[in-house]
C-alpha cells in the first residue's frame, strides 16, 4: 500500500485540440469584418466574438496579409481606437477600451456585485454555467433560468463565462452584464467529440475511421449492474444476442457481424488504455465517462491481432484542472418481475400422466422397474398397484398438480438490485483527481441467488515543469461476492415439492422413492431427495468471491512543442474463488456417501469409503497481467500542413492459473478435511454392482500469453479539409512451436477523409457540415493454443489404468497454419444541417475474412476427427445508418434518433466437407456451407404425416420415412434454407422529450430478417423431461388426423431419427422478426433552489424489457427466447445528485 500511495499518478491523455496554425494569409479588396473574422476562424480555428452594438461588422476594409500574426490582423481590423481585443483559449474577444482615468484610479478600491443571465444562441437559459473571476478561485453557477450574481468583484476584473460544449467568453465585470450569449463550440457540437482509440484521443473531425462514441448521458440513461448492458439499443453497428438463441462460439455482442468462424468472436475491451481481460461485471457503469466503439480497420488496426471483432474502448471519469470539488451521488433500486414459468405452453399434468400410462403399458419403464432402484415417475409407481386403495384418488391428485405453481411459489421471487455510488472530483492548478466508491447489492429472481459488489476507483494527475510533465495514476479495486443455489430440473410436471402445509416432500431423483426409503435397513444416511428442503436450508451453495486490482501508471513529458514522450504501465491482478459447499445434510453428499457405503451382510458393519462431513469443491483462479508501453507523439505544423504521428512499442503478458480440488469430510469451522485418509485410486464397489473411484475433481494448469508489438499511427491534414491516415502494427506472440521470426503478423490500414463544407465551392447552405471518409486495411485474430507443430498435453495427475503418466495429442501437426486476417473496407458520410437540427452518419462496410481458422472434420482414418486449420473465407457486408433530429427546440424539446443496421454474411469458401445433411441441419455452426451465412437455419423439407402419423421427408421428390437416408444424404439440394439465424436488419428508434425539467424517453428496437426453430411435441421429449411445447393435443391420434395436423403420433419405442427429423423439419421453422419496446425512462431534474442542498438533482424511473409490440410468429413466442422464459421486465427508481 505504501508503494501504491507513493505512485498514484495518472496520465491524462493529451487532448490535441489546440493544434492549429496561427498565421493568416488573406488578400482581398473589399471585405466585411464579419467575413474577415470568418476567415480567421477558418485558418486558425480562433473564434472572434464581438458586441453588435459596439462594432459594425458589416464595415468593409481592404486587407493584404501574408503570414500575418493574429495580433497584426486584429490590430488592422479594429480601426476604432475605443475597441480592443483579447486573445484567450481559441477565442478573440473584441471589447471596449477603458473609459476614464478616474475610473481606472478608483476601480481597485471598489467592489461590485455582478449579475446577468447566460443563454445559448437560441435564447435558451443555460443552467449551471460557470462565471468565474479570471485567475481567482471565485465563481458562481447560473440557476435554471440562467441567472447569476457574483458578489464582491473588482470592477476591472475579467470574468470567464463557460459551459460545457460552448465557447467560453471573457467579459469585463460590471454591475449588470445583461444577457450573455454563449455559442456552441464552432457552432457544432460534434466537433468537440473526442474519440479515443485507447492509444490516443483525437477530435472526431480529424478521424478517418468509423467510430461510435457513447457519452455519459446516454450510458446513464439505463440502469444496470454491468457496463455492456448499457450499450444495447444505443449503438449502431452492434448487436446483442440472447443467451438462449446464442449458438456455440457466438459472442454476446457482435460489432459489424461475425468475422471469425471458430476463433474467439468477442470484441476486444480496452479499459483506460489497456486491454481488459477480466470479468466486465467488475466495472461499475457509474465510473464510466465515455465508450468509443471502433468498428473498422482504421482505429482497430491499432490493436492488431486482437481487433478482428471490433474494439470497445472504455474511458473512466477523471478530474479536471482548476475545478472546485464536485461531489456526486447515484442511487437506484431495480425490481424485476418474477419469471413467468407459464410462458412456454406445455401439456397438462393429466396429459403427461396419460402418456406415461401408455408408455407403461408398452413396457417403457420395465428396465427401470427391473433394476429395483432406478427412478420412476410417481404415476408409474401408482400404475404398478392399480388395486391399491385410493388408486383413482391418488392418480387424480397427481393430475391436478402443476409443479410450476410450487416452483413459482418457492423457487422464484421478485428480484431486487440496489446500486449506490458516490464520487468526488476536481483539481487545482497542477493537479487533478477523481475518487469514487460504489456498492451493488442484488437479489436474483431465483431464491437464494445474490450478488454484492464494491468498487473503488482513484485517479490522480500531477503536472510539473510548466505542465510539461504529467504523472498520473489510476487505481481500481473491485470486490464481489456471488452466491448461487443449484437450479432444480423438474422430472415430471406434476411432481410436488411441498405438501399442503408447505412442508418439503421427497421426489424421485436418482433413485425411486421406495428404494430410497428402505435401502440399507436404516444403516445408510437418509437417502430422500427433498428439493425444497435443500433450498430452504441452503444445503448446496456455489459462491464466487472476486478480488480484482488494476493499477495504471503513466508518465509523459512534452519534450518540445508538438513532441511528447510517454510511458504507460498497467498491472492487473484478479483473484476469483469459486467454491461449492455440499453440506452433509445435502442430497448430493448423502447420496454420494450412500452410493459408496458397504454393509457387511454378515456382521452388518458399515464401511464408508467417503467419510461423513461436508464436501467442498474449491475452484480458485488467478490472473495477472502486466503491460508496458513506450510511445512518442509528434505533431508538426507548417502552413496549412499538419502532421500527427504516434509510434511505440508495447509489451504485454497475461498469466492465468486455474485449479480445482474436492475435499471430503470437510469441516467449515476449521477448514480441515479428511482427504489424506481417502484412497482415490481404489475402485470401490457401489450399491448397484458397478465399481467406481471416489470422484475427486482435481486439476491445475497455468497459461501464459505474451505479446510484443510495434505500432505506428500517422495522420496528415491539409488545410483542415483533407486528412490521410495510416496505421501499421506488428504483433508477435509466444505462439507455441513456432520460431520467433514466424510469430508475428503485420497489420495495417489507411484512411482518407474530406471535409467538404470547408471547400470554397461548397455552397449547400442548409447542410452546414459534410464529411466523407473511407478506410481500408487489415485486422486479425490469433489463438495461442494453436500450433503448427504437433503438441501434446500431459496433466500432472493423469495416470493410465496402470498408474503411469500419459500424454494426449491436442493438436495434430499443421505446417500450413497461418493467422486469421480480416480485410476491412469502410465508406462513411457524416452530415449535419444548419443549427444542428438534423445530423447523422452513414457507413457502408465490408469485411473479408481470410484464412479463418476452422475446427474442421477430417476422415477418421487420419486418427482424428477434427482439427483446427485455416479453412475458410467469409464475406460480411453491411450498412450502419444513424440519424438524429431535434424536432422541437422550444420549451418542449423533442429529439429523435433512428438507428438502422443491415448485415449480410456468407461463407465464400470452406475447404472442408460438412458431413451429412443432418450434421449441417443440427449443427450448422460447425458445418457452414459455402454461399450461406455462417449462422443459417437449414431444415428438412416436411412432407406431412403418413397414414400412421409418422413424419415424412422427401428423397428424390418422393415422400419417405427412411430417416437414415434423409440424415445421411450429402446432396445439399435436399436441404431447405430458411434464412439467417441472426438478424439481418436491426436497429432502434429513440424519442426523447423534455419540458421544464421533465424528461421522457423511450426506445423501440427492431430485429428483422432472421429465423428460429420452435419446440414441438415429440415422443422422445415427452418420454424424457421435455414438456416445453403447446401442441400436445394437436398430435396425430387416429387415421385421418394426418389431413389436418403436422404433429406426429406418440409412438413407443420412439426412434431418435424419426423425432429428430421432425424437430429439424421446416414446419417448425418460424420467422423471428419482431419489434420491442425496449425501455422507457421518465425523469425530473429539479430546478436549483436554495431549499435544496443539491446543485443538481435528477430523479428517475426506468422500465426495461417492456414488451414485444409485434412479432412475426403466431405462437406468441419471443423469438429470442423460444424455449425458456425471456428476460423479465424490470422497473428501476433512482436519483442522481450533485453537490
Amino acid at each position: 500500500m505504501r508503494i501504491l500511495t507513493s505512485i498514484i499518478f495518472t496520465l491524462l491523455l493529451f487532448t490535441g485540440v489546440s493544434a492549429f496554425a496561427q498565421k493568416i494569409t488573406y488578400v482581398k479588396k473589399e471585405v466585411t469584418l464579419a467575413q474577415l473574422f470568418k476567415e480567421i476562424k477558418k485558418q486558425t480555428g480562433f473564434n472572434v466574438i464581438w458586441n453588435e452594438e459596439k462594432l459594425n461588422a458589416e464595415k468593409s476594409i481592404s486587407v493584404n496579409f501574408h503570414d500575418a500574426s493574429l495580433n497584426e490582423v486584429m490590430s488592422k481590423a479594429l480601426t476604432n481606437p475605443s475597441l480592443s481585443f483579447a486573445i484567450t483559449d481559441k477565442t478573440i474577444v473584441v471589447t471596449q477600451k477603458e473609459v476614464s482615468f478616474l475610473d481606472r484610479i478608483m476601480s481597485p478600491f471598489r467592489e461590485i456585485n455582478v449579475s446577468g443571465v447566460v443563454r445559448d444562441e437560441n435564447n435558451k437559459p443555460l443552467w449551471a454555467a460557470t462565471i468565474k473571476v479570471k485567475n481567482k478561485n471565485k465563481y458562481v453557477h447560473t440557476d435554471s433560468l440562467g441567472r447569476f450574481t457574483l458578489e464582491g468583484v473588482r470592477p476591472d476584473a475579467a470574468l470567464v463565462v463557460s459551459y460545457l460544449g460552448f465557447q467560453s467568453r471573457e467579459i469585463r465585470a460590471q454591475t449588470d452584464v445583461g444577457t450573455l450569449k454563449l455559442m456552441m463550440i464552432s457552432g457544432n457540437l460534434d466537433e468537440v467529440q473526442i474519440v479515443s482509440t485507447g492509444y490516443q484521443t483525437l477530435p472526431k473531425e480529424r478521424a478517418t475511421g468509423s467510430f461510435v462514441r457513447i457519452d455519459k448521458d446516454l450510458l446513464d440513461r439505463s440502469v444496470s449492474t454491468g457496463i455492456l448492458d448499457r450499450l444495447d439499443g444505443v449503438t449502431s453497428g452492434l448487436i446483442f444476442t440472447s443467451p438462449v438463441t446464442r449458438q456455440v462460439g457466438q459472442s454476446a455482442i457482435e460489432i459489424h457481424g461475425r468475422s471469425t468462424l471458430f476463433g474467439n468472436a468477442d470484441p476486444l475491451i480496452v479499459l483506460d488504455n489497456f486491454p481488459y481481460d477480466g470479468d466486465l461485471n467488475n466495472i461499475n457503469p457509474n465510473d464510466i465517462e465515455t465508450i468509443t466503439i471502433l468498428k473498422d480497420a482504421a482505429a482497430a488496426s491499432a490493436w492488431g491481432t486482437r481487433s478482428g471483432n471490433g474494439v470497445i474502448v472504455i474511458t473512466t471519469k477523471k478530474g479536471s484542472l482548476n475545478t472546485a470539488p464536485k461531489i456526486g451521488f447515484n442511487a437506484n433500486v431495480t425490481f424485476g418481475q418474477k419469471p413467468n414459468l407459464y410462458y412456454n405452453p406445455q401439456p397438462s399434468s393429466s396429459e403427461v400422466i396419460d402418456t406415461q400410462q401408455y408408455l407403461y403399458k408398452q413396457g417403457a419403464y420395465d428396465y427401470n422397474i427391473g433394476s429395483g432402484y432406478l427412478p420412476l415417475p410417481p404415476a408409474v409407481e401408482l400404475f404398478r398397484n392399480p388395486s391399491s386403495p385410493d388408486y383413482e384418488a391418488k392418480l387424480n391428485a397427481l393430475r391436478n398438480n402443476d409443479l410450476r405453481d410450487q416452483l413459482s411459489k418457492y423457487f422464484y421471487q421478485t428480484s431486487i438490485a440496489q446500486q449506490y455510488q458516490a464520487n468526488i472530483s476536481g483539481g487545482g492548478k497542477h493537479q487533478k483527481y477523481a475518487l469514487s466508491a460504489g456498492y451493488d447489492h442484488n437479489l436474483g429472481s431465483a431464491v437464494g441467488n445474490s450478488y454484492n459488489r464494491i468498487t473503488l476507483n482513484a485517479s490522480n494527475s500531477f503536472y510539473f515543469f510548466k505542465d510539461k510533465l504529467e504523472l498520473s495514476s489510476n487505481l481500481r479495486y473491485t470486490g464481489s461476492k456471488n452466491r448461487i443455489l443449484p437450479i432444480l430440473v423438474p422430472n415430471n410436471p406434476y411432481d410436488q415439492l411441498a405438501d399442503s402445509n408447505g412442508k418439503p416432500v421427497a421426489v424421485a431423483g436418482d433413485l425411486n422413492l421406495p428404494y430410497a426409503q428402505t435401502a440399507g435397513n436404516g444403516k445408510l444416511l437418509n437417502w430422500l431427495y427433498k428439493p425444497l428442503e435443500e433450498l430452504q436450508n441452503r444445503y448446496n451453495t456455489i459462491k464466487t468471491n472476486v478480488d480484482n486490482y488494476r493499477i495504471n501508471l503513466a508518465l509523459s513529458y512534452k519534450v518540445l512543442a508538438g513532441l511528447k514522450l510517454s510511458t504507460v504501465y498497467n498491472y492487473e491482478k484478479g483473484k476469483s474463488e469459486r467454491s461449492t459447499l455440499y453440506e452433509q445434510a445435502s442430497y448430493y453428499t448423502r447420496n454420494l456417501i450412500n452410493t459408496y457405503t458397504q454393509i457387511d451382510p454378515v456382521t452388518g458393519k458399515v464401511i464408508r469409503p467417503i467419510p461423513l462431513g461436508d464436501i467442498y469443491l474449491s475452484q480458485p483462479t488467478e490472473s495477472r497481467s502486466q503491460s508496458g508501453r513506450l510511445q512518442i507523439d509528434e505533431e508538426v505544423k507548417f502552413g496549412k500542413h499538419v502532421l500527427n504521428a504516434i509510434a511505440g512499442v508495447e509489451i504485454r503478458e497475461l498469466n492465468t492459473s486455474e485449479s480445482q480440488d474436492t475435499f471430503f469430510g470437510y469441516d467449515t469451522q476449521t477448514g480441515t478435511n479428511l482427504n489424506s485418509s481417502l484412497d482415490f485410486k481404489e475402485d470401490y464397489p457401489l450399491f448397484n454392482g458397478s465399481v467406481r473411484k471416489i470422484p475427486r475433481f482435481y486439476s491445475s494448469y497455468e497459461t501464459d500469453n505474451r505479446f510484443f508489438s510495434y505500432y505506428f499511427n500517422g495522420a496528415y491534414t491539409y488545410a483542415d479539409k483533407y486528412i490521410i491516415s495510416l496505421s501499421v502494427r506488428q504483433d508477435e506472440s509466444n505462439l507455441f512451436g513456432v520460431s520467433t521470426n514466424q510469430k508475428g503478423v503485420p497489420l495495417w490500414s489507411t484512411g482518407l477523409s474530406w471535409i467538404l463544407n470547408k471547400e470554397s465551392f461548397y455552397d449547400i447552405d442548409w447542410l452546414s457540415y459534410l464529411k466523407l471518409r473511407g478506410t481500408y486495411g487489415y485486422t486479425g485474430n490469433v489463438d495461442n493454443n494453436l500450433s503448427a507443430f504437433l503438441t501434446t498435453q500431459t496433466s500432472s495427475i493423469s495416470i493410465n489404468t496402470y498408474n503411469a503418466p500419459f500424454a494426449s495429442v491436442v493438436n495434430p501437426p499443421n505446417p500450413s497454419l497461418r493467422w486469421e486476417k480480416v480485410r476491412n473496407t469502410n465508406f462513411g458520410l457524416d452530415f449535419m444541417t444548419k443549427n444542428g437540427r438534423i445530423s447523422g452518419s452513414v457507413d457502408i462496410w465490408q469485411k473479408n475474412g481470410m484464412d479463418l481458422i476452422g475446427n474442421t472434420s477430417v476422415a477418421p482414418q487420419t486418427g482424428i476427427s477434427m482439427y483446427m486449420g485455416n479453412s475458410a473465407n467469409t464475406l460480411t457486408k453491411g450498412m450502419d445508418f444513424q440519424i438524429s433530429s431535434r424536432n422541437l427546440m422550444g420549451a418542449v424539446q423533442w429529439n429523435t434518433t433512428l438507428l438502422y443496421n443491415h448485415v449480410t454474411s456468407r461463407v465464400t469458401s470452406y475447404k472442408v466437407s460438412n458431413g451429412s445433411n443432418f450434421n449441417v441441419i443440427s449443427a450448422n455452426y460447425m458445418n457452414p456451407i459455402e454461399g450461406f451465412p455462417f449462422y443459417s437455419v437449414f431444415s428438412f423439407k416436411y412432407g406431412g404425416l403418413n397414414k400412421n402419423g409418422d413424419p415424412q421427408g422427401y428423397l428424390n421428390g418422393v415422400p419417405t420415412t427412411n430417416y437414415a437416408d434423409l440424415f445421411g444424404s450429402t446432396n445439399r439440394k435436399d436441404l431447405v434454407y430458411n434464412g439467417s439465424a441472426t438478424p439481418t436488419s436491426f436497429g432502434n428508434l429513440m424519442n426523447t422529450f423534455n419540458y421544464k425539467g421533465v424528461g421522457l424517453s423511450f426506445n423501440i428496437s427492431y430485429r428483422l430478417g432472421y429465423y428460429f426453430r420452435r419446440n414441438s411435441f415429440t415422443s422422445t421429449g415427452i418420454a424424457g423431461t421435455d414438456y416445453s411445447y403447446g401442441d400436445y393435443k394437436a398430435r396425430w391420434q387416429k387415421p385421418g388426423d394426418e389431413n389436418h395436423t403436422t404433429v406426429p403420433a406418440l409412438v413407443y419405442p420412439s426412434a431418435d431419427k424419426r423425432e429428430d427429423f421432425y424437430r429439424y423439419s421446416d414446419v417448425l421453422v418460424e420467422k423471428a422478426d419482431n419489434i420491442c419496446l425496449k425501455d422507457i425512462r421518465l425523469d425530473y431534474t429539479f430546478p436549483q433552489r436554495s431549499r435544496l442542498p443539491f446543485k443538481y438533482l435528477n430523479v428517475f424511473t426506468y422500465i426495461d424489457n417492456v414488451g414485444i409490440l409485434w412479432r412475426a410468429n403466431h405462437y406468441h413466442l419471443n423469438p429470442d427466447y423460444p424455449t425458456r422464459f425471456p428476460e423479465v421486465r424490470t422497473i428501476a427508481f433512482g436519483l442522481r445528485a450533485g453537490l
Binding site: 505512485i7 499518478f9 413396457g363 428396465y367 433394476s371 500531477f462 504523472l471 501508471l553 508518465l555 508496458g628 513506450l630 512499442v649 475402485d683 464397489p685 448397484n688 454392482g689 458397478s690 465399481v691 494448469y701 497459461t703 501464459d704 505474451r706 510484443f708 509466444n734 512451436g737 493454443n785 500450433s787 504437433l790 503438441t791 501434446t792 498435453q793 500431459t794 493410465n800 489404468t801 496402470y802 503411469a804 503418466p805 500419459f806 500424454a807 494426449s808 495429442v809 495434430p812 500450413s816 477430417v858 476422415a859 477418421p860 482414418q861 487420419t862 486418427g863 482424428i864 476427427s865 482439427y867 458431413g915 451429412s916 443432418f918 450434421n919 445421411g968 450429402t970 419405442p1053 431419427k1057
Partner: protein, 468 residues
C-alpha cells in the same frame, strides 16, 4: 518542498525504468516470446514424451465392440433391446445398415487413433537425438506393435475372413504409415494389409523385451507380438505358422491361473495385472456400453445355450459368470480388472487353445488333448474329480478344442472371428435371435459378417464401402 523532492526522485526512477525497459525489450524479446503459453502443452521431443503418448491406454489400448454385440455370447430381452442405442440394436439383429448416420464409430476411430499416435512416435523417434538408444528401440517396437494391433482389429471387423486364394483382390484397409493428416489413403488389398501387419510385428520382435511387463500390462513384449502373430495366423488358417508362434510365446511365458484360487463371490475376480494377461486391451466405453458391459444388474444375459455347455463343476460358471435371482447369468468383470467393459487383449489361455487346435489339425490327437487338459484342469473344482478330456479321432479332438475355445474365450470379441473362420471351413453355423416374435438369422458366410465402414469415413474420404 518534500513532496516535490519525492516527485523528482520518482520521476527520475520512472525515466530510468522506461529506458531500461526499452533496452531489455529489444534484447530479451526472443526469450520473452519463447515462453510456453500453457503448462499443459508440450511438443513431444524426448523419449519420455513418446513413452507417455504410448502409455495413453485410452488411445493405444482401446478397441470397438461391434463384434461383441453381433456375436452369440449374449442375449437381451425385447424390453432391454428397446432401451439400447440404435447402433447396438442394428448390430444385434445384423441389420444391413448399422449406424444410421451416426458418426464417431469406435470400431473404426479407435484403431486409427492408435495408428496416428504410433506414427507420431515412430516419426518423432527418427528425429530424436537418442534414436539409437535401447529405450528408443524399445519404444519403436512398442509403436510398431500398437500399429499392428490396430490394423489387425480393423481387418477383422471390416474385411472378409482371410482367404489366401482371394486376399490379393479382397478389400483391406487404408494403411496409414505417416501421421500427417493432409493425405487420405484408399483401401489396400487384404493381402497388403496383412503383409503390413506382419511386417510391423516382425519389426517389433527384435525390439521388444522378452520379459512380461508385469506391472504395466498395457505395454507389449515379445510374448505379445508372438501371441498376436499366432492369433492372426490362425485366422488366416495357416495353422503351421500359428503353432510355431504360439510355441514361441509359450516358451517365453506360459503361466495360467488356477481358478480354484479365484474368488467366486467377488464381482471383480481378476486384477488388471492377473497372471494370464500378456497384453491388455479393453473395449472402449461409450457406444456399446448397454449391450456389452459386464456387471451385475447388466441388461444383457449370457446366452443360455452357452451356459449349457459348461459342466456343473466348471469353476468358470461361478468365476466368469454370476447368477441372477431369476436363474439367468450375467458376465462378471474379466481380465480388465475393475473395468466394466470387455477385455479384448491377449492372454495365455488363448495360446494354449491355439496350440491345441493346431496339434489337433495335424492329427496329434493325444498332444492336443494334453494341451487342452493343462488348461482345463485349472478351470475345474479341485475338490471334485477331474476327468481329463480324450478324443477318439483328430476330428473329435478338433471339435473338442473348438468347443473349449468357445467356452474359454467368452466376451473377448474373438467369437465373431471364429464364426467367420469356421464357417469358411464349412462349420455351417447359423446364428439366430428371436425378439418380440420375430426371428432374425445370419447364415454362414453372409456378407453381413463384414461390418460396413462408418458413414463419416465414406463421406469424407470416399473409400470403398463393403457390400452387405
Amino acid at each position: 518542498m518534500n513532496l516535490n523532492y519525492l516527485m523528482m526522485r520518482i520521476l527520475k526512477n520512472l525515466i530510468c525504468i522506461a529506458v531500461l525497459l526499452s533496452i531489455c525489450i529489444s534484447c530479451k524479446k526472443s526469450d520473452f516470446l519463447n515462453k510456453k503459453p500453457s503448462t499443459d502443452i508440450t511438443e513431444p521431443t524426448t523419449l519420455t514424451d513418446f513413452q507417455q503418448l504410448l502409455d495413453n491406454t485410452q488411445a493405444m489400448n482401446s478397441t470397438g465392440g461391434l463384434a461383441q454385440v453381433s456375436a452369440d455370447d449374449q442375449i437381451v430381452s425385447y424390453t432391454n433391446y428397446l432401451a439400447a442405442t440404435a447402433t447396438e440394436r442394428n448390430a444385434y439383429i445384423w441389420n444391413k445398415e448399422i449406424y444410421g448416420g451416426d458418426t464417431g464409430i469406435s470400431d473404426w476411430n479407435f484403431p486409427y487413433q492408435t495408428v496416428f499416435y504410433a506414427n507420431v512416435v515412430l516419426e518423432g523417434l527418427l528425429k530424436s537425438d537418442s534414436a539409437s538408444s535401447a529405450k528408443a528401440q524399445y519404444l519403436k517396437g512398442w509403436a510398431l506393435f500398437s500399429r499392428a494391433f490396430a490394423f489387425y482389429t480393423l481387418t477383422r471387423n471390416f474385411c472378409k475372413a482371410y482367404d489366401a486364394a482371394s486376399a490379393a483382390t479382397d478389400l483391406g484397409i487404408p494403411l496409414r504409415l505417416a501421421s500427417a493428416i493432409d493425405y487420405l489413403k484408399p483401401r489396400a488389398s487384404l493381402k497388403e494389409s496383412f503383409d503390413q501387419i506382419f511386417a510391423d510385428l516382425n519389426g517389433s520382435l527384435g525390439l521388444l523385451p522378452e520379459e512380461r511387463p508385469s506391472a504395466n500390462l498395457n505395454r507389449p513384449s515379445k510374448i505379445a507380438a508372438y501371441a498376436l502373430l499366432a492369433r492372426m495366423s490362425l485366422e488366416m488358417r495357416n495353422y503351421a505358422a500359428a503353432e510355431q508362434y504360439a510355441d514361441h510365446a509359450l516358451t517365453l511365458y506360459s503361466t495360467l491361473i488356477d481358478y480354484n484360487t479365484v474368488s467366486q463371490t467377488s464381482i471383480t475376480p481378476f486384477s488388471r495385472t492377473n497372471a494370464e494377461l500378456i497384453c491388455s486391451y479393453t473395449q472402449g466405453g461409450g457406444s456399446y456400453s448397454f449391450m456389452t458391459s459386464n456387471y451385475i444388474e447388466s441388461p444383457v444375459r449370457v446366452s443360455p445355450l452357452l451356459i449349457s455347455l459348461y459342466a456343473p463343476d466348471d469353476l468358470r460358471l461361478k468365476v466368469v459368470f454370476g447368477q441372477n435371482a431369476d436363474g439367468s447369468y450375467y458376465k462378471k468383470r474379466g481380465y480388465s480388472g475393475t473395468g466394466a467393459y470387455p477385455f479384448t487383449g491377449l492372454a495365455t489361455d488363448e495360446l494354449y487353445l491355439i496350440k491345441a487346435e493346431c496339434l489337433a489339425r495335424r492329427n496329434e490327437t493325444k498332444s492336443a488333448m494334453d494341451k487342452l487338459n493343462q488348461l482345463l484342469i485349472l478351470r475345474f473344482d479341485k475338490t471334485k474329480t477331474y476327468r481329463p478330456i480324450t478324443a477318439s479321432s483328430s476330428t473329435d479332438a478338433l471339435t473338442k478344442v473348438i468347443l473349449e475355445r468357445r467356452k474359454e474365450l467368452v466376451w473377448r470379441g474373438i467369437r465373431w472371428n471364429d464364426l467367420k473362420r469356421l464357417n469358411k471351413e464349412g462349420a455351417n453355423i447359423t446364428l439366430s435371435r428371436v425378439l418380440n416374435g420375430t426371428t432374425y438369422t445370419l447364415s454362414p458366410n453372409d456378407p453381413r459378417y463384414v461390418f460396413p465402414i462408418p458413414n463419416d469415413e465414406i463421406t469424407l474420404s470416399g473409400i470403398a464401402q463393403n457390400p452387405r
